[in-house]
């Protein structure tokens, strides 16, 4: 494959890539710590995954195979556009298969299929600071991170339980990385949180608008915050996938008509498709 004329490999110029790689190295060295970086203008608006794209652009090589998912799906606008973008500016092979990909850029999901060593998961992060709704001053949140003082997050959970009887956070559920830094896992469902723990793949997080990069190296301890008597409970819709019959995967609820009809299907399209194909082959 050839890259588009007039563009450097991977769109970003080499100096920008080096700057981002330096930030990535620091992020990997200090798991969960938010490293500032000089976020570049990208040919798409903030909030559409500029952070994730810059991280992917700096680590991608000609031999990489890229998969992009948006809410678990390979076929939504955001995923299709980013995949085509890299096919154009880096000329890399793309795939929809989790197992075949060497780099997976994701928005709001972790693939159902377990990742292996050597794979890299790149998250698009809208707001890297887990405490920003509780403490609006970012200078102060940086101080709280430095002092490892996260009682403010527990107060939020305390208030949740006092009001509703359970921790009312179902996505973007904060985690402690390596028992040191409180980290936002990006708006993934809390269902995906356990997958972050000791994952064999490298996890990189890029926030373009907020200009922060952070990382979870392979096999790092990642613990969801909770109380002893109100342990962390991942949330999953109580249903079965209408297409592949899965009872384990994370489900999307789809409204099918205006008379209350609805169905559940897997949010991870590759997982669902692979299972459905396997069932057909078996019949």
């Amino acid at each position: 494959m050839t890259t588009a004329a007039g563009y450097n490999f991977g769109y970003l110029d080499e100096n920008s890539k080096r700057m981002i790689r330096r930030a990535l190295l620091k992020a990997v060295a200090v798991p969960g710590y938010q490293v500032p970086f000089g976020s570049r203008e990208m040919p798409l608006p903030y909030g559409w995954g500029t952070g994730g794209i810059q991280v992917t652009a700096s680590i991608i090589g000609p031999d990489d195979v890229l998969k992009v998912i948006d809410q678990g799906a390979d076929d939504t606008t955001n995923a299709v556009s980013i995949r085509r973008f890299f096919a154009k500016v880096a000329g890399v092979a793309t795939t929809e298969r989790t197992a075949e990909a060497s780099i997976i850029q994701t928005r709001h999901r972790v693939p159902e299929a377990p990742l292996r060593e050597g794979q890299i998961l790149v998250y698009q992060v809208p707001m890297p600071e887990p405490m920003f709704r509780l403490e609006p001053r970012l200078a102060e949140t940086r101080k709280l991170h430095a002092l490892a003082d996260y009682s403010i997050m527990h107060i939020k959970f305390y208030e949740d339980i006092a009001r509703t009887g359970h921790i009312a956070t179902s996505y973007n559920y904060p985690v402690m990385v390596d028992d040191r830094y409180l980290m936002s896992p990006s708006p993934i469902p809390s269902f995906d949180n356990p997958k972050l723990h000791r994952m064999p793949a490298l996890q990189l997080f890029g926030a373009g608008r907020e200009k922060r990069i952070y990382a979870v190296p392979p096999y790092t301890k990642v613990r969801s915050l909770d109380f002893e008597d109100h342990p962390f409970q991942p949330i999953r819709a109580d249903g079965t996938c209408a297409l592949c019959g899965s009872r384990e995967s994370y489900l999307d609820e789809i409204v099918t008509d205006d008379r209350g009809g609805r169905m559940f299907i897997c949010s991870d399209t590759d997982y669902c498709g692979t299972r459905a194909a396997g069932q057909e082959a078996a019949e």
Partner: protein
């Protein structure tokens, strides 16, 4: 025995204004020391320096930890000072809005220091919060009420509960009865006096209210223009003032 907190030779100037001039104070375990003086005499500045919130330009403050180790306050790392403020020390602000989280329920306010100290059991935290609400004479049934729906006196009592929940040994109070009406003041002072005796607290109290100082304090430090002009046992200082300024201060109190 040695003092919990000892300051020597404190000096601080704001431009041409002298806020502290060679001030020395000691606080021993279990005693209540009142700093009195008129507005602008450097009372609150002294409190801020002694509690580590503002570094002085001269002098030093020594803090003794529960194990008996001495620390120079302004040589301590910020993380240690912050931990001190959340465990062994407490600070009660004049305005409860400065010391409370108004958008967080009463129980959450009391629980914050516990959670900062590492408590991770919801039921346990809640039980302690309810117990402390009762101790400061707030109905434990209001544990989920936001402090902004409390009266001024209740907010101040909640702030005291929130401060005392981790059993500090030393509490700084900046005009804790300021802005409250007289009957509420009396009840609050009575409650503070009970808690101080019960918990064996050392309190450094800043006040311009001589009667509050007489009621609570064992010792009194009188300040004028950044200097300590007189110090001694409360009864001695108030009944037999030696310095002209103290004499003026004690005679200015209106008796009802």
């Amino acid at each position: 025995m040695s003092p919990l907190l000892a300051a020597q030779g404190l000096g601080l100037r704001f431009g041409t204004v002298t806020a502290l001039d060679d001030v020395a104070v000691e606080i021993w375990p279990g005693e209540v020391v009142a700093i009195v003086g008129e507005s602008g005499s450097g009372k609150t500045t002294l409190l801020r320096v002694l509690s580590g919130m503002m570094p002085p330009q001269a002098g030093r403050v020594l803090y003794r930890d529960p194990e008996g180790g001495q620390h120079s306050l302004f040589d301590m790392p910020e993380i240690a000072l912050r931990r001190l403020h959340r465990s062994d020390w407490g600070f009660v602000y004049q305005n409860p809005r400065d010391g409370l989280r108004l958008g967080i329920s009463a129980g959450g306010n009391i629980g914050e220091r516990l959670m900062a100290a590492g408590h991770r059991n919801y039921g346990h935290i809640r039980a302690i919060a309810a117990e402390w609400l009762a101790r400061v004479e707030i109905d434990p049934g209001r544990i989920d009420t936001l402090p902004r729906n409390f009266s001024g006196g209740m907010q101040q009592r909640l702030q005291i509960a929130r401060t005392l929940v981790t059993s500090p040994r030393l509490v700084f109070m900046d005009e804790p009865t300021g802005g409250l009406d007289v009957s509420v003041q009396a009840r609050l002072l009575d409650m503070i006096r009970g808690l101080v005796a019960e918990l064996d607290l050392a309190v450094l109290l800043v006040t311009h209210d001589i009667s509050a100082a007489r009621l609570l304090a064992h010792r009194i430090v009188v300040m004028q223009q950044g200097r300590v002009v007189e110090a001694g046992l409360t009864d001695r200082v108030l009944d037999d003032p030696q310095h002209p300024y103290t004499q003026l201060l004690t005679t200015s109190v209106l008796s009802a």
